[in-house]
């Protein structure tokens, strides 16, 4: 019961104000409930006081429980993930593993083993588990970069449209539609991509002469397009917010010196809001990295390192989703998947941090 009043009630007579205990000049008089009640000689009954304390304690516990629930995730994931490190000989096992290298021998017309070479392979259930995470990270990065590329361009377009071009009425229609698009469960988007879009997309690619490189019907590109559907509205909304935070004075000044609307948008509004836009893009990238169901259903789910965007890949999230259910509890495979999760959470945490710093800079810039 020792909080400061939020604002001074106006119209308090000056004479009364002097009676209050003001240690120094300009000191805000204490209007806190406890102080007011004490001054009114209206003692709070024991029952009421106890009840207040009990309720405050209960509410405090809810706050603590929320914090606990949230921080437990980080603690637990790292605890489990670190066990994987203890189970292998060296952490390098998660980077590469030694495998038999085969070479074609023309003399006997067959392949022969010529020695051992480091391999970047994710084969966790083979007799000798190969736990290189590089193929998974490659897949995640590939899908996320491709999806970010598609959705950054489109998302900024949507944001500019909403904040600079659309009339308030049109904006009032389009923005809820974007929210609805974000609200569609990702399984549904993955399913529609898998059932309806993937096959025609292949036919289109083959028709325009890409049949040589179009590896698999379900591939990195199809996954990235699916992920973009989720991310474009998110980036669009955030870019809209960032551009609308740019003060109208700037727009008026720009238009006042004879710039067109396009010049104003391109040379004044966008540069001012660029850190907000950047924050939106980073958030979109984080979302793409963490997206699970769409890439699990449409990206082909083959753990391989490929430079071709039309080949199947398996992302970190898809690996966890598809393998955890079958992995033996406490085994090296399951613990490695926990480690993959811990790495994922670290990356998104860092992305979040970057975004917060960028957006804070943006806010300070806007206030200037």
């Amino acid at each position: 019961m020792s909080q400061e009043p939020e604002s001074k009630p106006p119209g308090e007579p000056a004479a009364k104000r002097d009676e209050l205990p003001s240690g120094r000049e300009g000191h805000t008089p204490d209007f806190s409930p406890a102080e007011v009640q004490r001054r009114l000689r209206h003692p709070v009954s024991f029952f009421r006081r106890t009840r207040e304390h009990l309720i405050e304690g209960g509410v405090f516990l809810c706050g603590v429980a929320s914090i606990l629930a949230i921080s437990l995730i980080f603690i637990f994931l790292f605890r489990e993930g670190l066990q994987a490190l203890r189970m292998v000989d060296t952490p390098l096992d998660f980077v590469y593993s030694m495998g038999v290298q085969l070479e074609y021998d023309a003399g006997i017309d067959d392949v022969v083993a010529v020695g051992e070479a480091p391999q970047l392979a994710w084969q966790p259930v083979s007799e000798e588990p190969k736990l290189s995470m590089i193929p998974l990270m490659w897949g995640s990065l590939g899908v996320a970069l491709l999806a970010s590329l598609l959705s950054t361009l489109a998302g900024i377009g949507v944001g500019i449209f909403l904040s600079e071009l659309a009339s308030p009425r049109l904006r009032g229609v389009v923005k809820p539609m974007l929210e609805l698009l974000v609200g569609i469960p990702t399984v549904v988007i993955g399913f529609v991509m898998l059932a309806i879009v993937a096959q025609p997309l292949r036919q289109v690619a083959e028709a325009i002469g890409l049949s040589g490189v179009y590896g698999s019907t379900y591939n990195m590109f199809v996954g990235a397009v699916g992920v973009s559907i989720v991310i474009i509205p998110v980036i669009g909304s955030l870019v809209d917010d960032a551009l609308r935070a740019v003060p109208d004075d700037l727009r008026a000044a720009s238009l006042g010196v004879g710039a067109t609307r396009w010049q104003t948008t391109w040379r004044v509004v966008l540069p001012t809001g660029v850190s907000g836009v950047f924050g939106a893009v980073i958030l979109g990238f984080g979302r793409a990295l963490g997206e699970t169901m769409i890439v699990l259903m449409c990206a082909g789910n083959a753990a391989q390192i490929t430079g071709n965007p039309f080949d199947s890949v398996r992302t970190m999230t898809a690996a966890i989703a598809s393998e955890m259910g079958a992995a033996q509890v406490g085994g090296v495979h399951a613990q490695t998947l926990f480690l993959v999760g811990a790495i994922l959470i670290t990356i998104t945490f860092l992305l979040n941090l970057t975004m917060e710093l960028v957006v804070n800079r943006f806010r300070r810039k806007i206030r200037l």
Partner: protein, 384 residues
């Protein structure tokens, strides 16, 4: 800037500069931006339209009210609908009080204090965590840690390999004894056929030795799935409640304090009622989000097929006794149904109809809830 202001500035610019037409690239740029937005809206309509057209024909009373049959190629999705409903219900029952009172503590008790800063930091970080990570957490923490430990302390289920061995070592002499007795008994009764003898011995040993403890909590279950989803939506509820509480004007709080109300009286009779629409909007969005997520509950209790809802033995309520939903069983879920039918069923093409029907039901559910939230928020923001 208002449209009228923009328009008049544009008119003035044209008059002053004498350029009546916008330059070509400006026109191109603006039509590109419009085109992109139009395309995004088209995608929404395409998704909705496809699902409606291909799923609409599936929706019959039988589809909505029956369990799947004939190897999932016929029947309905009733258990999946109810599974989704109950898991979301349990989720919001857990998350709402925690989130709302967490936010109340943040805004009303610890104003800008260390607690509210910690909560804010935690919430911010949690919002960016990939949903599959919640799945790992649900499996590792709720099922394997909490569930297994509950089983161990209540039912004596072994947790580690050593404990399993200890239990087996304890059971071995008892089993050997029972086996000997069984063989003697079989001799007396004149059972000679080897298969019959084996069956008799097995049955006798099972009957005579103490039962092996069964896992109850240490397995995937609706309750753990709901708890995992509750943590997922907790940040959304906290943020929504916080915004709603901050929107309540301080003057009404001060007026209530001025009348001599205690802090809890102010919160419960003045602040919370005013914040109710905002909190409700947050709760609806949280429910929609919880119903639309699959990754967090993949390993925590969803299953491909149950013949109906998991029910308990009839519970006596005094006047009547009915079976209730058993939250410690595995359950079917709409999202999981779509996922497994589309990717793991032996005939994914032949069952497309069922898949689209399920998708339509799921989309309709989340769509209605999202729409409700949007409408509610709009009305609420107009009022204030």
């Amino acid at each position: 800037m208002t449209d009228e202001a923009r328009q008049s500035i544009e008119t003035a610019r044209r008059k002053v500069t004498g350029k009546t037409k916008a330059p070509l690239w400006a026109v191109l740029f603006e039509s590109l931006v419009r085109g992109i937005t139009g395309a995004v809206i088209l995608v929404l309509f395409f998704l909705m339209g496809t699902i409606l057209v291909r799923g609409g024909g599936q929706i019959t009373p039988e589809f909505l009210l029956q369990a799947p049959r004939d190897g999932m190629t016929a029947g309905g999705i009733f258990p999946a609908i109810m599974g989704t409903f109950f898991v979301v219900l349990f989720m919001i029952v857990m998350a709402l009080p925690l989130g709302v009172f967490g936010a109340v503590y943040m805004v009303e008790y610890s104003k800008g204090g260390i607690m509210s800063r910690i909560i804010r930091a935690a919430v911010n970080n949690l919002a960016g965590v990939p949903s599959i990570v919640f799945g790992l957490f649900g499996l590792g923490f709720f099922v394997l840690f909490v569930g297994r430990n509950l089983d161990h302390h209540i039912y004596g289920v072994p947790r580690t390999a050593e404990e399993v061995q200890a239990v087996q070592a304890e059971m071995a002499p008892l089993q050997a004894e029972a086996r000997e007795e069984a063989i003697n008994l079989a001799d007396e009764r004149g059972i000679t056929d080897p298969a019959e003898l084996d069956a008799f011995v097995e049955a006798y040993v099972e009957e005579q030795t103490p039962p092996v403890p069964r896992t109850v909590f240490g397995q995937g279950a609706m309750f753990w799935a709901a708890a995992t989803l509750a943590i997922l939506v907790l940040p959304f509820i906290i943020v929504a409640t916080e915004e709603a509480l901050r929107a309540v004007p301080p003057s009404t709080r001060e007026a209530a304090y001025g009348l001599g109300a205690t802090r809890w009286q102010v919160i419960s009779t003045v602040v919370l009622p005013q914040a109710k629409p905002g909190i409700l909007t947050g709760a609806i969005l949280a429910v929609a989000r919880g119903a639309g997520e699959l990754a967090p509950i993949l390993f925590v209790g969803v299953t491909f097929f149950t013949p109906g809802l998991p029910l308990t033995e009839p519970v006596n309520f005094g006047l009547f006794s009915v079976p209730v939903v058993n939250p410690f069983e595995e359950f079917m879920h709409l999202n999981y149904h779509i996922y497994t039918m589309a990717t793991q069923h032996h005939d994914p093409i032949g069952t497309r109809g069922i898949q689209f029907g399920t998708t339509l039901v799921l989309v309709a559910l989340t769509f209605v809830m999202n729409l409700m939230a949007i409408v509610l928020r709009r009305r609420y923001s107009k009022k204030s």
